[in-house]
């Protein structure tokens, strides 16, 4: 197929041939093309449909501000909706499809909406669809939802990976047009660390799209020469295909590099995109400006484009959007477009200039003081109707119309920290101002300096001033000679003639009429206007439309534009793939995994694992023949209670506490006393928050007068450490105490059951006496095992059995579990997992995470007496508040089903045996439940109002969520060995 609209010149590689598809049809383009330029080259103007009215739409711009030419790229799991054809680099094999149409782009059923546009005005839906009430979710909304939206996703997992990275620089230069290049060159020559970020796949910005000479050569050649120097400087890093999307606090910028989007798929192992977090000391915004349209009736037809975009297509991509082009302008820029088209031999059928004193242009008819009042062409522009200065109406044939209403500086990043731009009358546009991100200066067109010469100069100046602020002296390079045309513009926002719709926001179908309606209904604040009409809320975030809407509203209210409001922008500058923001921390790598020292061994045993925070813990160890997890767990419990069981308890937090005041420190941290704990002993400790709520429990072992090891729950290890550091540094800074976490350094195993001593005696080196007298309940000590491996031994018990916890250096953890199991063979020792651990602690009435839920006090837990009133400790004062000490306060109790075959579910609520069931009669809730193989029935722990006085009562345990009700007796939470004889044996 021929590329009918291709002209001479351009920055494309004509020797290349790139095949691509649009809506199933194959076309050819060249390397250097965008999808939009290649489609235009092939005379494809119709590229999409609008959001609401499904009006036919063509490409409007040549950049990332594009509102219309949105497509689905690629197929299958790589399908990517709403992609802007204007910034999609062409590659061989690219498949693009139009969207928001059915069945085809040319014939779209939903185009019927356009016929009813008079009913579908701004906010019409707020006024109807209210009756009957149930119809909203069932009828109206599904229809609306199906019609709304733009592209569709594949629902398949994204197959590509994304990287994140971190960069550091003295100066970040955003944009590589004339201002950005000069800023980078100035800073680079001064030896500063520079990052130059360019959204496009080539550098140079508008130098690539204009025909003006810079330093006697073409703009793009000059840009190439500067780039060559920048590339030679080691301190300068150039990132193309990289959009700076957000300006965050303290000089941090987010930028997305599209590493592989110009390929069919990323190379193996390589990311699709990288999110860079750039730490800059200073930044220069040189992001240029965006041309704005002039609204007129039916200004949304395919072929109506920005004049600067037409110029870009002709000059950079060697494409004319059509064989016959007209221009509609309020400034000299439009004339440039006409001149450049003529130079390429395109038929320019006229320049319509609203200025009565419009300059003339050789070889073209210039209609001074005229305006475009309407257009024709269903699926593509055929002609425009113009009204001449003398009032005459005339039709002008053209397949494309370049429109220029002036240029809006790209202030977006200056608004990201809530900075408000200020009005500049000279260019009739907002320029950066107000509260700018600290360290950011703006140069070139982004700051309202619209000529090339001004851009070059302000770019250099911005870099010099930024570096001066850093104490680096830099000299501005000699400025090359460049175009410095004055800006001549007559503000003109929309054509008032015509009764039809004139589009302000072409993607969201917001017209001048909608803005008038908003005004009529008192949605006059800019924010109300936006929210009511959806102006500027489409994928382009109003880059081409916000100003127009504001101007219309200003006219309606009789105020100036800056009095009416400002346009401010939120991050990101352009839409960012969620994958890039997520990076590698997804799927199985969402969080890092923590493995216990026995992990490898447990895998060999076929253990089932469970996530406990980031830890993977063995849940149970199935044996051959066991078909249900309960069989495994029951066996583990019974065998532990009968003989001996071994469990990896490494995950408990371990904090080493040393110093002359270590005991005094712990006395303040724990609710109960630690000052008098003898060396060689362990004590259970309860920690309160300052509000008196119990938040963690564990043990502290005193290894020396000035040395303790504190254990925390698995979940709270980090929090307890942080709080202890707070107490040490901020509350009692003069206490001599030092803290460090040692959780990872030790592999710790619980060895529990009547045979645990016998088992351990086989491994503990013989000089250490484990007899009950020498090493009684709650003893601890530093020992050696297996012939000299250093170890720690604690005689503590979570299971209620005679039990120990033995710790060895983590590197020996794997060998230690094997040694324990081997030594335990003669006792039929079992490994047990977290489930059996849980069963045994419930049988013993020990509180765990379900009970320490952040709202329970020591009193609730039945540990009220542990809170010492004789010393200062965190939480003791506020624990005395009346609300935490009510007589009917929740108390931890045990529950046993009256019918031992019934099962009590955790999370059930408690009601009296008789009476109503309601929130008002709620007596409490079940926190933990398990099947007790020792007792042969379901048991549970529960918080019960006034529970201490209700022993022996029968309650209803209700679970209406799952239609369940069980009668249960209130019993002591200590189901097994309440006197604690076993653990002292």
């Amino acid at each position: 197929m021929t590329q009918k609209n291709r002209v001479n010149g351009g920055l494309i590689d004509r020797s290349s041939r790139v095949n691509f598809q649009f809506d199933g049809k194959t076309y050819q383009g060249h390397n250097g093309d965008t999808l939009a330029s290649a489609l235009l080259a092939n005379d494809v103007r119709l590229m999409g449909r609008s959001f609401k009215y499904h009006r036919p739409r063509g490409v409007m711009t040549a950049g990332s501000e594009e509102p219309n030419a949105l497509m689905k790229l690629r197929t299958g799991a790589r399908q990517e909706p709403n992609s802007r054809a204007t910034v999609t680099e062409l590659f061989d094999g690219l498949e693009a499809r139009s969207q928001n149409r059915f069945p085809s782009l040319k014939f779209d059923f939903m185009g019927i909406n356009d016929r009813f546009s008079n009913f579908l005005t701004a906010g019409f839906y707020y006024k109807t669809f209210m009756w009957p009430r149930a119809f909203w979710e069932k009828l109206y909304e599904p229809v609306i939802r199906k019609a709304a939206g733009l592209g569709s996703i594949s629902f398949e997992d994204d197959p590509d990976s994304y990287d994140k990275g971190f960069l550091h620089c003295d100066l970040l230069v955003i944009g590589s047009g004339p201002a950005g290049l000069m800023a980078a060159l100035t800073a680079g020559r001064a030896g500063a660390r520079v990052i130059l970020a360019e959204e496009d796949f080539i550098t140079g910005g508008r130098l690539n799209t204009e025909t003006y000479a810079v330093a006697g050569m073409s703009g793009s050649d000059w840009a190439r020469s500067v780039m060559a120097e920048l590339e030679s400087l080691e301190s300068v890093r150039i990132l193309t295909r990289t959009t700076v999307v957000g300006a965050f606090d303290h000089g941090i910028y987010g930028a997305v590099e599209r590493v592989s989007d110009h390929m069919l798929a990323p190379e193996s192992g390589k990311p699709r995109q990288i999110l860079w977090r750039i730490y800059s000391k200073r930044a220069v915004l040189a992001a240029g400006a965006t041309e704005r349209p002039i609204a007129f009736e039916n200004n949304d037809r395919p072929g109506v484009m920005m004049a600067g975009a037409v110029r870009a297509y002709v000059n950079r991509w060697a494409v004319t959007p059509h064989q016959q082009v007209a221009v509609f302008t309020n400034n000299d820029d439009g004339h440039r477009t006409a001149a450049d088209l003529i130079a390429e031999g395109v038929d320019v059928t006229g320049v319509i200039d609203v200025r009565p004193d419009a300059p003339s242009l050789a070889g073209i008819e210039v209609f001074a003081g005229a305006r475009v009042v309407n257009s024709k062409g269903l699926l593509g522009l055929k002609s425009v109707q113009i009204r001449l200065a003398n009032g005459e109406i005339r039709d002008l044939t053209c397949g494309a119309l370049g429109v220029s209403g002036g240029w809006n500086p790209n202030v977006h990043l200056t608004c990201h920290q809530r900075g408000r731009p200020v009005w500049n009358d000279a260019i009739a546009a907002f320029v950066p101002g107000g509260e700018m991100p600290a360290g950011l200066t703006v140069a070139g067109a982004a700051n309202g300096h619209l000529s090339t010469a001004q851009a070059l100069q302000t770019g250099a100046e911005a870099a010099v001033s930024a570096l001066t602020g850093l104490g680096v002296s830099a000299a501005a390079p000699d400025l090359p000679e460049a175009e410095d045309a004055p800006n001549s513009l007559t503000p003109f926002w929309y054509v008032k003639e015509g009764k039809g719709r004139a589009w302000i926001d072409p993607q969201n179908d917001v017209t001048v009429k909608d803005i008038k309606l908003a005004h009529q209904e008192n949605f006059r604040s800019v924010e109300h206007l936006k929210r009511y009409t959806t102006l500027g809320m489409a994928t382009d975030q109003g880059k081409t439309s916000n100003m127009g809407g504001l101007a219309v509203m200003a006219e309606l209210t009789g105020k100036s534009i800056p009095e009416t409001g400002t346009t401010i922008f939120r991050p990101p500058y352009t839409p960012v793939a969620m994958g890039a923001l997520a990076g590698r921390s997804i799927g199985k790598n969402f969080h890092p995994t923590r493995e216990t020292p026995s992990h490898k061994w447990a895998v060999e045993q076929g253990a089932e694992f469970v996530e406990v925070g980031n830890w993977l813990r063995a849940q149970w160890f199935p044996q051959p023949g066991e078909t249900h997890w309960r069989q495994s767990v029951d066996r583990e419990v019974l065998q532990t209670r009968k003989s001996v069981g071994i469990c990896d308890v490494t995950t408990l937090g371990k904090i080493d506490v040393q110093g002359a005041d270590a005991a005094e420190f712990l006395n303040k941290i724990y609710a109960n006393g630690f000052a008098k704990l003898p060396v060689g002993k362990v004590r259970y400790g309860l920690m309160l928050r300052e509000d008196g709520i119990a938040y963690d429990d564990g043990t502290a072992a005193r290894l020396a007068e000035d040395h303790f090891v504190v254990t925390t729950t698995t979940a709270n290890a980090v929090l307890v450490y942080r709080n202890m550091e707070f107490a040490r540094q901020c509350l009692w800074p003069d206490l001599d105490v030092q803290l460090i976490s040692t959780t990872e350094a030790w592999a710790q195993y619980a060895v529990a059951g009547p045979k645990s001593r016998k088992l351990l005696q086989k491994l503990v080196d013989p000089e250490f006496d484990l007899s009950n007298d020498a090493f009684p309940f709650m003893a601890c000590g530093e020992i050696t095992v297996c012939g000299g491996v250093r170890a720690r031994l604690f005689r503590i018990s979570f299971s209620g059995e005679l039990a120990y916890e033995v710790a060895v250096p983590t590197r020996y953890g794997d060998a230690m579990i094997r040694a324990l199991m081997e030594a335990g063979e003669e006792f039929d020792a079992v490994p047990y997992g977290t489930e059996a651990l849980g069963v045994m602690r419930i049988e013993k009435g020990h509180a765990a995470g379900n009970e320490l839920n952040g709202t329970t006090t020591a009193l609730n837990l039945g540990l009220g007496r542990m809170v010492s009133k004789k010393k200062d400790c965190i939480g003791n004062v506020l624990s005395e508040r009346e609300g935490l000490n009510a007589t009917d306060a929740l108390r931890l109790v045990g529950l046993r089903p009256v019918d031992s075959k019934e099962v009590i579910p955790a999370g059930a609520h408690l009601m009296n045996a008789d009476g109503s069931v309601s929130a008002k009669t709620d007596l409490g809730y079940v926190t933990s439940a398990a099947y007790s193989p020792i007792l042969g029935c379901s048991i549970a722990l529960a918080f019960l109002k006034g529970g201490g006085d209700r022993m022996g009562d029968v309650l209803r345990v209700i679970n209406p969520l799952e239609g369940q009700e069980v009668r249960a007796e209130v019993v002591s939470a200590h189901f097994v060995d309440p006197e604690g004889e076993r653990l002292r044996a």
Partner: protein, 95 residues
């Protein structure tokens, strides 16, 4: 955000854990008059200033220092950073 750590220089705020108003250093005397009221005010009431705010940050992924950071809550500008332990001592905390 970047916090200029008094020992380590500029560090990304992501390395820190935030606690709140630096007044939390001034834990009341547990035996003082109206201790319960004092603790209530200490723990629950905040000036919550729109402007200069002295606040506690913990360098969790760092050197484990608690810092007192003076930061403007309207602009996020940070004007002063000190080790909380130094502040606590200076403001009368001891053992």
């Amino acid at each position: 955000m970047i916090i200029n750590h008094p020992l380590l220089g500029p560090r990304d705020a992501q390395e820190f854990t935030y606690l709140g108003d630096a007044s939390l250093i001034h834990r009341p005397d547990w035996q003082g008059e109206d201790a319960s009221g004092q603790f209530h005010d200490y723990l629950y009431l905040r000036d919550n200033l729109a402007g200069q705010h002295r606040e506690l940050w913990f360098h969790e992924v760092g050197d484990r220092s608690w810092l007192v950071v003076t930061r403007n809550t309207l602009t996020h500008e940070i004007t002063n950073v000190e080790l909380a332990r130094d502040v606590a001592r200076r403001e009368g905390r001891g053992k």
